[in-house]
Structures are given as structure tokens and as C-alpha cells.
Subunit: 96 residues, 2 copies
């Protein structure tokens, strides 16, 4: 099991719209092979900043399965225009 | 419930020592009022980078309760010398 972690910076003034669209987009990702869980967390100190946490069974379920799928094109179209700058995506393995 | 999230950069070559000391230090934080859960996650792409996630009942349980406690001084002494640079600590509220 691995954790995808991404800090998202949303264009100023678009956070409410982003949250609404994100909720609509969840079924796209949650139907993918290897998907386990998703969390969207809103930063208390920095306006328009979020932490996205997605658990996948394997790294490849995210980097190849999801990113190589038609569903990812739909996810991109719905969400990527909210991000400024485009985020760095990292993957983590739990130590404890 | 709030999430403390911190990206930790460990001095080169000290990650194994950091992990060992971190495991010893967990009971210090897990005994504090308002503590719910802790995760230490190791980055797969960036050497010596970790993601620390701590769930607290309230923001103040972390920022005032823990940081104002004698236990925090012990936590600092054990762990802070591993960090370079000193990390930015942020707090998040779950949206979904």
C-alpha cells in the first residue's frame, strides 16, 4: 500500500468551486483498480491550499493504471485548471 | 478533529537513525491530551524526505497543549537535530 500526497494551490477565489467539482470527481478515481481511500484536507494557515491524500494498493496503480486511463483525462479536464502552479505529486510508504 | 502535516527533510545519511529515534519518541506524543493518531511516511522519490501526519482533537491540543508541555522539550531534544532545514508545520481540516 502506498500513499499519494499532493499539496494543491488553487487559483485565488476559486476554492469553493474547486471543492464542489472535486466532490463530483471522486467517483472517477474511486472506481479505479487499486484505489483504496481518498482525503481532501484544507489548510488552516494558507488560503486556497489543500492536501490531497490518496491510498493505492501499488505505485503502478496510480502512475500507470490511473494516469494511463480514459478516466484520468476526465479527471484532468475537471480539476487541473484550478491548480496554480501545477502541483508536485509524491508517493510515500508508511514507516509507522 | 484536525490534521497536522509536516514534510521533514532529514540530514543526508541520518534517515536510519532518525527512524529509530522517531519510533522511541512516539510514546511522548501519543500520551498527550487530544492526540488521536500518528503516521510517519517515507518519500519514494526524494531521499531523506518524510511526511509526518498527526491527528489531534483540536488545533490547540497541538499548538498550546503539546508545544507548551515538558514532553515537547523532550521531543525536540530527540528529533529536531535531524531536520535540515527546520520544517514548516501546517494544519488541515478534512473536506472529504
Amino acid at each position: 500500500m502506498i500513499l499519494e500526497a499532493v499539496i494543491l494551490h488553487i487559483r485565488a477565489g476559486e476554492s469553493a468551486a474547486f471543492e464542489a467539482v472535486f466532490k463530483q470527481a471522486v467517483p472517477i478515481i474511486s472506481s479505479m483498480k487499486g484505489f483504496i481511500q481518498i482525503e481532501l484536507q484544507k489548510c488552516m494557515e494558507v488560503a486556497d491550499q489543500y492536501l490531497l491524500l490518496v491510498q493505492w494498493e501499488t505505485l503502478e496503480d496510480h502512475t500507470q493504471g490511473f494516469r494511463g486511463s480514459p478516466e484520468y483525462q476526465e479527471w484532468r479536464k475537471l480539476l487541473h485548471h484550478f491548480y496554480e502552479p501545477f502541483p508536485v505529486v509524491e508517493h510515500y510508504e508508511r514507516i509507522l
